[in-house]
Symmetry: C2
Amino acid sequence: MADLTKILLDESEMPTSWYNIVPDLPSPPPPALHPGTREPAGPDDFAPLFPMALIMQEVSQDSYIEIPEEVQEVYKLWRPSPLFRARRLEKALDTPARIYYKYEGVSPAGSHKPNTSVPQAYYNKMEGVSKLTTETGAGQWGTALAFACALFDMECEVWQVRASYDAKPYRKAMIETFGATIHPSPSEVTEYGRKLLADDPNNPGSLGIAISEAVEMAAPHPEIRYALGSVLNHVLMHQTIIGEEALKQLAKVDDTPDVIIGCTGGGSNFAGLTFPFLREKMAGKMNPTIRAVEPAACPSLTKGVYAYDFGDTAGMTPLMKMHTLGHDFIPDEIHAGGLRYHGMSPLISHIYELGLIEAESIHQTECFDAGVQFARNEGIVPAPEPTHALAGTVREALAAKEAGEERVILTALCGHGHLDMAAYDRYFSGDMIDYDYPEEKVRDALTRLPQDL
Amino acid sequence: MADLTKILLDESEMPTSWYNIVPDLPSPPPPALHPGTREPAGPDDFAPLFPMALIMQEVSQDSYIEIPEEVQEVYKLWRPSPLFRARRLEKALDTPARIYYKYEGVSPAGSHKPNTSVPQAYYNKMEGVSKLTTETGAGQWGTALAFACALFDMECEVWQVRASYDAKPYRKAMIETFGATIHPSPSEVTEYGRKLLADDPNNPGSLGIAISEAVEMAAPHPEIRYALGSVLNHVLMHQTIIGEEALKQLAKVDDTPDVIIGCTGGGSNFAGLTFPFLREKMAGKMNPTIRAVEPAACPSLTKGVYAYDFGDTAGMTPLMKMHTLGHDFIPDEIHAGGLRYHGMSPLISHIYELGLIEAESIHQTECFDAGVQFARNEGIVPAPEPTHALAGTVREALAAKEAGEERVILTALCGHGHLDMAAYDRYFSGDMIDYDYPEEKVRDALTRLPQDL
């Protein structure tokens, strides 16, 4: 087994439960608060947005939740996903490190996102919901939800950040291929969108704005619900199938990670790979360093403040305690990759505060350098998001070389870049410049956070 | 095993030889002819274009040729590829047929093409060639050769049909990500390109023209060789690993195909899946109907003439006896999908004349109907090329339903459509119209074929 290029699992070895890390943590994460009363939000406060099954998962104290059979059947279209040993990249870096990458780009949507879009569609369908609304930035999540809705015969309506909508026409075509409707955000379809467009017809949009539009469309209609692609506990939990598989796969080649590296935007892909390993670490069975890598242009974890903030720009969602750049954050146009959400998942924020994980931010040209080096050696063209994890991996592999150590690095290749080639084009044309999100913008945003918490 | 969604093989089960169908045929295919002397072309006539190892494969009488270890190592980045049972599509069609599809879109280039680009790069490298040139239409082949050259540290220069180059900027970025150079064809880089542009600066290009440019650049330089992505015997042979794997995979679920359906442009993906099954059929071990599906807009097999013709537009390549629409064929702009070569592989043409396979042509809207239906049920968005095979598969599955028969259909899903979403966009916007290649154009092209053969 030890000389395999890719380590596969049979369908019969696919995990049948998701892992909920909350009960294993030394202290519970702070609760979400009702946006009006500022009291801890109960299940009823989430009911206008999500079906009860997902709300119960959001607050669950069970360590494992069984994956419904219908969801497992869909997962089998691409799962278990392969774990690769990056032999060619190791050779190119001339490193003694062993590099493994867990590849989620084999999913029909091309990323890890269907791991949660499929159960979200399923649970909504079970509760009689006929239509889901959502936001999307780069487009991975909108594609994944459209795919899931197609399989469960549901309607799907997507608001895509206008800057991305205009720059990536192929995303629209892919989302329409799966039968969904897509709007640029801000749009004329919602009250909030119309208000923003009246103020500025050229508003480039943001994830926070798109969330506000999708929520506005869902909340008043019992047959319509909203689906979020990251950030929340239940979303992170659905992604843990990635790490559960990776644990089995590394056991097959008798290896244990010294360092685990994932990229973070909202945090779901990072959590999906690392939480099952963090469980093993907390149980004293292994001791990997676990590191989040985020863009220097959107550094919520490394430069944001840890405070209660809204999940959306209009202030319609419950308040969550998280590392945030402020809910009115609009990413600089300079930033080419994804990972542009103003906040970090409250659960990851809490775990970061507990000192269980590390974080670093990296400039985009270093990320694309790593992405191109990876493509030319391993063949897969990564999405801009996981180039952050790859840049962190290259740093670690070179540090291992410097130290003369056989470090085992595990990284999350959460998607391919086929629909993001415009970002590579920008990189090759030399138009890509680096950008550090300014400290004073963070201080300024702080003044607009809810102040009484 | 019988209820699997995807049937996988271990790396240890990957075939280690390619299959050469030529010695098993009841009669040999007609030889290629030298373009000047019109005498049968010998190895030396191919030497300006190809390395000797590939020329020997082109004329080989051995039934099996071992896959070099270095090529097997690269294949393992994505091979063995999965065979899927299309359960959701079967259900949507309400058919008693069992539908299997062999999916080649898992390769880094997203299609079956790396099965041959990798050995082609390898054999050239072994003979001291430092650079490969080629043509590409939709871009699948150019991407695959760029990928292979990256892995073997070779230069790569690609001429892409200008109409596609302009319509598909992401292909350029992907080819550049793999480190290759790309030109629109006709280009100012070659004498032939300059001549065509002088006549018509808006020449949209064709595969035949792009081949002429790539050949012109390679032939005079011993360190540069040319690589072709389909049509030739050795290319088809490299693809037989698809069918060899599918044979093993169907055996695992104890099933035997009644009908095998693949799309044809130059013929390599069709040959790759079907030749190993044709061997079994000729040996009396099974009796599948084998059917090629081609676009009604480029119907070389069903409407072309079986005659000696050039492989390129300028008349620089050896003459090959094949079903052809004429070497000066330029595809109508109406046609959105790939599969636009003027000729059919001489080997497939010969096998068709022997009556061992069937062929049909299908309009593009029926193909995209099938592609969208497939995506909404199976999740994978197919490239425009295999939507032809899918349309043929849907026809067959509905015929099985009509007849009340449990037919087993095997089809070739040779690539995904992530970089071809503009074609889907055209389909959804209602701008896609059907087109039959006119008989009189074929008759007219006939007058410009070499007349003395």
